[in-house]
């Protein structure tokens, strides 16, 4: 294959990528750039950015890291029965579900009309304007609903944080138990509390989705 053949093949693939980029973006500019630069342009324009980091996603990331280390510390030791890999997978799934739910609530709260401060201001305006009882009741109901959504989101975030602390404590307890021979009861009690939190996390989400 000569250099010209290679260039021709490159441009044929580039043309295909241009078509795909145009269909996705409906703009000629990005499609034109894709023709000569498809290896470096197509991944940038076709794949969306990662979701923005938040306190909850940072926390979830740390939980997953700590969990991986805890499973590693328990592996091959008598404590493996307390934290098998399947259990760790279940915890990861609950954490991901909690994160998804927090992201959903965040996106709801980000929409226009879901700002508690603005809802309070609206109640004040209606009161000053002498609005009818029904209008005022509706505005108050809206404000209370927004407040409940915020409170629900905060409960999810707190539950995730508490779980994170427990996973961190479990990891250190497992390492200590493995190398310094501390009692299995210490590990067992942390594991029990951790499972209680995981169950609680699941119940919060079942309550909100029900």
């Amino acid at each position: 294959m000569s250099l010209l053949d290679l260039v021709a093949l490159y441009l044929v693939v580039g043309a295909g990528c241009s078509v795909v980029v145009y269909r996705k973006t409906r703009k000629l500019g990005p499609a034109a750039i894709a023709l000569p630069l498809w290896p470096i342009w197509a991944p940038v324009v076709l794949i969306p950015d990662a979701p923005p980091r938040s306190r909850a996603s940072d926390r979830a990331g740390r939980i997953e890291t700590e969990l991986a280390h805890a499973v590693q510390a328990a592996d091959g030791s008598p404590f493996e029965v307390l934290l098998p890999r399947e259990a760790a997978d279940r915890i990861r799934e609950e954490v991901r579900n909690a994160l998804d739910r927090i992201a959903e609530l965040d996106s709801v709260l980000a929409q226009p009309g879901f700002d508690r401060g603005a809802a309070e201001v609206r109640i004040g305006e209606l009161t000053r304007a002498g609005a009818g009882k029904r209008a005022l009741q509706t505005a108050v109901l809206h404000r209370d609903n927004v407040a409940r959504i915020e409170s629900l989101r905060d409960r999810h975030v707190r539950a995730l944080e508490e779980l994170g602390e427990l996973v961190g404590a479990l990891r250190s307890q497992l390492v200590l138990a493995r190398y310094a021979g501390s009692s299995p009861e210490g590990v067992g009690s942390i594991v029990s509390e951790m499972w209680a939190r995981v169950e609680g996390l699941g119940e919060v989400m079942e309550a909100t989705s029900g």
Binding site: L37, P39, I40, P43, V44, V45, I47, D49, A50, P52
Partner: protein
């Protein structure tokens, strides 16, 4: 204005740390990539045009077209290798992160080349000789490379194998960039060269040229070169007395540079 509020171009100029953070966290990659590509195209084109202005004429346009193409081709070739190297040395970044980091580094380097262009142009205009002109352009490239390295090192952070990864990145880019540059040569052409092709025919490669030049600099010549050097040493004064360089343009019998530039 905090780094998060600046435009992507502003960040490329003044905040390599924020650029690296955005690349790693995949935040606003598309505008950053567009700004990097724009900076690369503009900076490299202006620098290429200035280098071409050493001879002038159509070489200004040729240089303005070829330098951005050489840089972009090097990036396109390198990125998959850089992705693999980063993953094997403990940084399993998404491909988009590697692309964005490489483009941002190259964009920043191109802005440095743009900044150097007026200085280089002035130096050429004041009568800088051919070899000094080549050195000056190489120096500008080197400093631009350091600016690019700033973004790269901030992206790699201080974790394990950071230095090894950085060295591997630089080595791969130098190899790819050297070869793409070689394919599209010439850039800096002697003023008295009559006809300049857009691209010279491909003879050997960048690595061959480096080896040959190193051997020549050490006085080790192969059969053909030895004969040419012997002829040059016994030639009349009006023939360029410098040892034959295989990368010279194929036009012989030109005057000494200082006599031409004194015209």
């Amino acid at each position: 204005m905090s780094p998060r509020e600046r435009s992507p171009l502003g960040l490329l100029l003044s905040s390599p740390r924020e650029v690296a953070r955005r690349c790693l966290e995949e935040e606003g990659l598309k505008p950053l990539a567009v700004a990097s590509l724009g900076a690369l195209a503009l900076g490299a084109a202006v620098f290429g045009g200035v280098v071409g202005s050493f001879r002038g004429g159509e070489q200004v346009l040729y240089g303005a077209i070829k330098v951005p193409i050489a840089l972009l081709a090097a990036i396109v070739i390198c990125v998959p290798a850089l992705h693999g190297i980063a993953a094997s040395l403990g940084r399993a970044w998404p491909l988009r992160t590697v692309i964005a980091l490489t483009l941002a580094a190259a964009g920043r380097a191109a802005l440095v080349l743009l900044a150097f262009s007026p200085v280089l142009w002035l130096a050429y205009d004041l009568g800088l000789g051919y070899h000094a002109a080549a050195l000056a352009a190489t120096g500008a490239y080197g400093l631009a490379g350091l600016a690019a390295l700033g973004v790269l090192l901030r992206g790699l952070g201080r974790g394990k194998h950071a230095v090894t990864t950085a060295l591997a990145f630089v080595a791969v880019f130098l190899a790819a960039g050297g070869q793409t540059g070689w394919i599209l040569r010439p850039y800096l052409v002697r003023p008295q060269t009559r006809d300049v092709p857009f691209v010279r025919s491909i003879e050997g490669g960048f690595a061959d040229a480096v080896v040959r030049s190193t051997r020549s600099a050490a006085g080790v010549y192969d059969e053909v070169e030895r004969e040419v050097v012997r002829s040059a040493e016994t030639a009349p004064e009006w023939v360029d007395p410098e040892p034959y360089d295989v990368s010279h343009e194929p036009s012989y019998g030109y005057e000494r540079e200082d006599r031409w530039r004194a015209r």
